[in-house]
């Protein structure tokens, strides 16, 4: 197969293609189980294989993909034809940043392959969790397990050949119940990074049982709580919502394709402009953010991106100043040319596709906030006169240029005079992105820092759902509108 792919790549080069790559997925497997109120509603497994071909011709991309590998020549020809017609409407001919030709491999850390674990064991795990969640006050309880295993072989016309084997484990428990007015409330636990590997060993029964007990207790507290007040105060975001705040108003805003207008037909743009790099005060001095695809054991660490560029750890925001973006080979060249200065030295290795039948685009890796020096969660609460601690995403809606946002969360704890006073329900907060990050007044230390996994980041047309991570501490923001 590899030899056939190499031959086809060379053939298209000889026909005038500037660049060609192929991503062959010998297999991608998924195993998804979902139990709802004791019913194993979904017992699903899947397997797919195929090839995606990307061709650059006269400054334009063509792409084609197929699960039918019986006629690779036709598949490559189709991709080339698609590039030829695209070349009829080019405004900025695609150029690719330099990279090394690599012969390399990557394997994600996994001790116990979840695909080797018998189905009975997975079902027993869910059943045990379901029993833990089946408590007074709980009307709906769900547990779901999602395992992914894939092999990707990347070859390109510049001489790279990279093989990746990636295993992912995602797990979630959720409970909901209604208050006296019949309004539903929900509390969720989502598995994040634990230890140095992520295989079946992540499914620690004792740890999950503790989390199950916690979310039931907290959901019942919310059910009987007073409504969230509507006022301006400090918000203290726990990692369970801090990761999403980071994701939506830093991560997506700093994808270079969005900044350059490549997502305007659908997902939207970014308030960030090319002239902002190096000067824009994105947040307070307490804010340092990096895109770290080298972070051990996270879905945002993948060895090499789908341009064949090695994973990197790059600063995005340094002590509040915008310095970097999430980039691939194409966009950095265009950005530098349009800005008439060298903003980016090269690709940051963040161009990824979700499947063989999708084209790579800029995707978040691990968008992390460095821990700070403001102590533990207790320290931050103690130093807050009037605020609210928030956790768990319930809904999120962001402006089309990522300039403003509205989040609803699962639970809030009011803070009065440095102490937690009571739980509130229906908590929400909103703000303007830059104003919000510039109001960052406290960043928790390493004891508050957690790596959250994201299994459902959507972007692009055709849509692509990507897996990634966020390492975030507890953070406090001042004068934020809540309760609307």
């Amino acid at each position: 197969m590899r030899e056939q792919l190499r031959r086809e790549i060379e053939r298209l080069k000889s026909l005038g293609a500037t660049y060609v790559d192929a991503r062959w997925y010998p297999f991608e497997e998924q195993n998804y189980l979902m139990m709802w109120n004791g019913n194993l509603k979904v017992t699903d497994a899947s397997r797919e294989s195929g090839v995606g071909v990307r061709v650059l011709y006269r400054g334009a991309w063509g792409f084609s993909a197929s699960s039918d590998l019986s006629n690779l020549r036709a598949l490559f020809d189709k991709a080339f034809d698609n590039a030829r017609i695209a070349a009829e409407r080019v405004t900025f001919p695609v150029r690719l940043a330099e990279k090394d030709a690599l012969q390399a491999s990557f394997e994600s850390p996994c001790r116990i392959d979840p695909f080797e674990v018998p189905l009975e064991e997975k079902v027993a795990f869910l059943k045990a969790m379901d029993e833990k969640l089946n408590q007074p006050g709980v009307e709906q309880r769900t547990g779901d397990l999602n395992f992914i295993r894939k092999q990707i072989v990347f070859l390109d016309s510049e001489g790279s050949e990279i093989e990746k084997r990636i295993t992912e484990v995602f797990a979630r428990l959720r409970v909901s119940g209604r208050d006296e007015d019949g309004v539903s409330h929900v509390r969720t636990f989502t598995l994040g990074r634990r230890g140095e590997t992520r295989g079946w060993e992540s499914m620690d029964m004792e740890y999950f049982a503790e989390q199950a007990e916690r979310i039931v207790r907290e959901m019942n507290q919310v059910r009987t709580a007073e409504p969230c007040p509507k006022d301006d105060r400090a918000v203290i975001l726990l990692p369970g919502i801090m990761y999403l705040q980071t994701h939506e108003t830093i991560g997506h805003a700093l994808e270079l394709d969005r900044i350059l207008g490549y997502e305007l037909a659908y997902a939207g743009g970014s308030f960030v402009r090319l002239e902002d790099f190096g000067t824009l005060r994105y947040g307070s001095e307490k804010l340092t953010v990096r895109a770290d695809a080298t972070l051990p054991n996270s879905p945002g660490s993948f060895g090499y991106d789908d341009d064949g560029v090695p994973a990197q750890n790059n600063l995005l925001i340094d002590k509040g100043i915008l310095v970097g973006a999430i980039t691939g080979r194409q966009m950095v060249e265009e950005a530098n040319a349009r800005a008439r200065r060298r903003i980016f030295e090269g690709s940051s290795g963040a161009n990824r596709a979700t499947a063989f039948y999708r084209v790579p685009i800029e995707r978040m890796t691990n968008i992390n906030i460095d821990p700070g020096t403001d102590g533990t969660l207790d320290d931050i609460v103690r130093n807050t006169e009037r605020g609210i601690v928030l956790d768990g995403e319930r809904s999120w809606s962001i402006g089309s240029n990522r300039e403003q946002f509205h989040f609803a969360v699962e639970i809030g704890w009011l803070v009065e005079d440095g102490q937690i006073s009571r739980v509130v329900k229906n908590a929400t907060y909103k703000g303007d992105t830059l104003k919000f990050w510039n109001s960052l007044s406290a960043v928790g230390d390493e004891s508050t820092w957690e790596v959250k996994f994201v299994d459902n980041c959507g972007k692009g047309q055709p849509n692509q759902v990507m897996q990634l991570g966020h390492g975030v501490p507890v953070c406090r923001f001042d004068n934020v509108r809540i309760g609307e």
Partner: protein, 461 residues
């Protein structure tokens, strides 16, 4: 293709029966083409030919599924998929209810929604469409973005209890064109949904874009003060608001789980405005309808709201099994939602702008990033985008920066609903997540809601 798929289903069914399995077998075949534009260039030109196969095995109350992306020639792999599902079901846990394996009453072939001409639109035609749609509207600073997505979608299925099979073949196209100002950052949009090639009308798209671009170039931008406004929603916004009721409105399973703003006791009651009538109407070809559901039930127009009176919940087979309800022919990939028009003789944007008015009107054609703040209260939030206009009482026009709306559906479609235009239009709501599933909602061209608060107002584009 049709004969080959049906023959393969027949052969696989025979194989499963010989092995003593209880299975349902499902093919999804898509031939998808997408030309994407950005910065006035074709940023991506792609096509995918994918064949998905799903085998679901049953053993009394147990159920398990195995899905593959494969090709029709590889029959041995398809049989292995069936074997895998059958093996999985042995280890699955029984449900608390018995899942129904339907007996399909007859072989049903529906190709009436397929137009060979639309399915075979060429690369050159896609490009020509866009060149016409934006002719003369692009400048150095006003850039084109958009998509032209078209393709063929085939669904076919049977099971070991049915001698018959069902086969649905659809063609569709979804077009979105956005013109945005690179420096000023404003953006306007127009879209089209096509089920036949004759539905494609780039000149109509151009006319709408040209009208909006003219105003966005000439009229002053403005940050709106927070407060209450009479808001006219365009078809994209209305379709999004209606579509979300699939999840938090009239879905019986979601209601039973506490995730609906509609209650069982509200069936037969006045819940929304008398102006609001909504039907699941599979006779409307513009919605890419299923005329049978996947259990073989013939789908007929199903009233959801009649003049604001809630007529009843919909039940898929599985949710009906679980909650002891009667299935309503809604075991399908999507419904065919049709919202009735009203009395207002305002059929175009030009007519809306020219309309005499006593108060300022905020025109919101599109709602960006809608999400559900609380399902049991029916509260949703979203921002305006793509061509909003402030139509002032004195006849002048301003260009409002984007605003945020956070409201319950009962407020929007309830007593504040002021008027609906008499003309209805299809709005394509297809998502390209996962498998192709062409979907459209038919809604009034305009819908006016009085006295709605905006909770956030941007200070720039």
């Amino acid at each position: 293709m049709k004969d080959r798929i049906l023959q393969t289903l027949h052969d696989l069914r025979r194989y499963a029966r010989e092995k003593g399995y209880e299975v349902s077998l499902f093919f999804h075949v898509e031939d998808s083409y997408l030309m994407r534009f950005a910065n006035s260039a074709i940023s991506l030109n792609t096509n995918e030919h994918l064949i998905r196969f799903e085998a679901t095995a049953y053993d009394g109350r147990k159920r398990a599924s195995y899905e593959m992306i494969t090709n029709l020639d590889d029959v041995e792999a398809l049989k292995t998929g069936i074997d895998t599902a059958a093996e999985m079901v042995e280890h699955a846990m029984p449900l608390t209810y018995e899942p129904t394996i339907p007996v399909l009453p007859e072989t049903f072939i529906d190709e009436s929604n397929w137009d060979a001409e639309l399915a075979s639109v060429s690369n050159e035609e896609r490009l020509a469409y866009f060149n016409t749609a934006v002719k003369g509207l692009e400048t150095e600073e006003i850039r084109l973005s958009g998509i032209f997505s078209n393709g063929t979608n085939v669904l076919a299925h049977t099971n070991t209890r049915s001698e018959h099979a069902q086969y649905f073949q659809t063609s569709d196209a979804q077009i979105t064109a956005v013109l945005s100002h690179e420096r000023l950052k404003w953006e306007v949009s127009a879209g089209q949904s096509a089920q036949r090639k004759t539905d494609l009308d780039p000149q109509a798209l151009r006319a709408e874009l040209a009208f909006l671009v003219k105003h966005y170039r000439e009229d002053p931008p403005q940050q709106l003060p927070l407060g209450n406004y009479d808001i006219v929603f365009g078809p994209a916004a209305t379709a999004d608001l209606v579509r979300i009721m699939n999840w938090i409105g009239f879905n019986g399973g979601m209601m039973k789980r506490g995730y609906s703003f509609l209650k069982e006791e509200e069936v037969g009651r006045q819940v929304l405005s008398p102006l609001f009538t909504l039907t699941d109407d599979p006779t409307r070809r513009e919605t890419f309808p299923f005329r049978r559901d996947f259990t073989g039930i013939e789908r007929k127009p199903f009233p959801l709201f009649e003049r604001g009176v809630f007529k009843g919940f919909i039940w898929s087979q599985d949710e009906a099994d679980e909650f002891g309800a009667q299935p309503t022919g809604h075991t399908v990939m999507h419904n065919s939602l049709v919202m009735a028009g009203g009395e207002m003789a305002v059929d175009s944007l030009e007519e809306l702008v020219a309309q005499r008015r006593e108060n300022d009107l905020l025109y919101v054609p599109f709602l960006h990033y809608m999400n559900i703040v609380n399902p049991s209260q029916g509260v949703v939030t979203a921002s305006s985008r793509f061509g909003a206009l402030l139509l002032k009482a004195d006849g002048s026009i301003a260009i409002p920066y984007n605003v945020r709306l956070t409201h319950s559906l009962k407020t929007i479609f309830g007593e504040n609903l002021a008027w609906l235009s008499r003309k209805t239009v299809p709005h394509n709501t297809s998502s390209s997540y996962g498998a192709r599933n062409p979907t459209a909602v038919i809604v009034p061209r305009f819908l006016c809601v009085n006295d709605l608060a905006i909770s956030h107002s941007n200070d720039s584009f």
